[in-house]
């Protein structure tokens, strides 16, 4: 066989395999796409329902969202806010804010604030803190994060939103003070942001 022809055969064979492989992947994808997106949705809803119980709202929380941008939320990127409503009355907002200054990078959180400004709960959804020490911020590892439920900007006051060691009202995680400070600061900033922007957060409809 001439070298030119041989190359052509090889090239077409390779192309055939590329097309075949892509076709099979595409087929698998289209057949499971619905299931995967349902999984993603269930997972998000599951996380949200840890903070706002299913009986406290009547809307589709994971679809009633708005994107906001503010450096008080710890990131320059847009941040997603889920809104819980009961019979069209605002119940709570769940803000995906970020603590930028964790011990090893950013800590991604869900901060749920009731309409009145009281915390419904906080969850850490993404972090790279030290396993066994800083990862106690994760609700599956310890109940440290539960101490924030029911707190607000007035309870405790402005100067008490710190760990005990810095003269504040909150427990720090042993050997992970930097992590604890970052989380507390983030929650405090998110509360402040909420107070300033509450009407805006519940009014604007992204999906309509």
């Amino acid at each position: 066989m001439k070298p030119g022809k041989s190359m052509l055969v090889s090239a077409s064979l390779l192309a055939a395999f590329a097309i075949g492989g892509t076709a099979i992947v595409a087929l698998t994808y289209t057949n499971t796409a619905d299931r995967v997106s349902q999984n993603k949705r269930d997972y998000t809803l599951g996380k949200l329902h840890e903070l706002i119980k299913p009986d406290q709202h009547t809307n589709d929380m994971d679809r009633d969202t708005i994107q906001v941008q503010d450096k008080m939320l710890g990131t320059k990127e847009k941040v997603l806010v889920y809104r819980a409503r009961k019979n069209n009355q605002p119940v709570a907002a769940i803000i995906q804010s970020v603590a930028p200054d964790g011990y090893s990078g950013r800590i991604e959180m869900l901060v749920a604030i009731k309409y009145g400004g009281e915390l419904a709960g906080v969850r850490v959804v993404g972090h790279r803190e030290t396993p066994g020490l800083g990862d106690a911020i994760d609700a599956r590892k310890s109940d440290w994060i539960e101490q924030f439920s029911g707190k607000s900007l007035q309870n405790p006051g402005e100067t008490a939103w710190k760990v005990n060691r810095d003269g504040g009202k909150f427990d720090q995680i042993t050997s992970a003070t930097i992590t604890s400070r970052a989380v507390i600061k983030c929650i405090h900033n998110t509360l402040k942001y909420y107070e300033l922007n509450r009407d805006y957060l519940f009014k604007k409809q992204d999906n309509e």
């Binding site: 064979l13 395999f17 492989g21 698998t28 030290t130 396993p131």
Partner: protein, 223 residues
């Protein structure tokens, strides 16, 4: 070559991908902090190995030598992507934990090594068997390492099994020591290296002993 026993013992022991060939260490060391993670990655690797070995063996007479490697890469990448999608569809929460390493199976040299060294030269049945037992050998090492690290690191066994087998599997978690604070080193990467080192050392000791026993018998029969 259709010696099934040889294929089986090669995969599980003599030529074990993790302890002898030392391939695929990146995912091996990264995910073995608990048994369930190890099992998840092990099953995914077996699936990919079997699919890729069968496919490579099927096309071994069509593919020309000069485009062999790119075709193998294509086959493996497709198999991994499919496994990744299937996992997202059926084990979503486990996928969130070890998903990153599923994609990394592509870089697991054990898979392309089996394609090149075995599947491209053997029949489909032999290749499938080779893929299965190489995968099982790899999974066995993952499980041993996962068990060691979970016991020492967390003081538990089979925690978070519900990620794989549904909510009903939570009872499987065994807490071995109450009020155990955990031993951080075992969970962090150095613990994985130390653990794997120990496993390889133990395997070598066993092999040496066996060798001695065999040569001993030989010498006796010679005299």
């Amino acid at each position: 070559m259709s010696d099934y026993n040889k294929i089986i013992s090669d995969g599980l022991w003599k030529n074990n991908p993790a302890t002898v060939q030392l391939l695929g260490l990146c995912p091996l060391l990264a995910v073995t902090s608990t048994v369930v993670n190890a099992l998840g990655l092990g099953l995914a690797t077996i699936l990919v190995l079997v699919i890729s070995n069968i496919t490579v063996s099927l096309i071994r007479n069509i593919v020309r030598p000069e485009i062999r490697i790119p075709v193998f890469v294509l086959v493996i990448a497709s198999a991994v992507t499919i496994t990744d999608i299937i996992m997202q569809a059926f084990f979503y929460e486990l996928y969130l934990i070890i998903g990153l390493f599923i994609a990394l199976i592509t870089t697991n040299c054990a898979i392309i090594a089996r394609a090149e060294a075995f599947a491209s030269k053997n029949t489909v049945a032999d290749s499938a068997l080779d893929g299965l037992f190489m995968g099982l050998g790899f999974t066995a090492v993952l499980l041993v390492l996962g068990t060691l690290r979970e016991i020492i690191g967390f003081g538990t066994l089979f925690q978070q099994f519900d990620l794989m087998f549904g909510e009903g599997a939570q009872w499987m978690k065994i807490t071995l020591f109450d009020n155990y604070d955990g031993y951080l080193l075992a969970i962090l990467p150095p613990g994985a290296f130390i653990g794997l080192g120990l496993i390889i050392a133990i395997k070598n000791v066993i092999d040496k002993k066996r060798e001695k026993a065999v040569t001993g018998i030989l010498q006796q029969s010679a005299t």
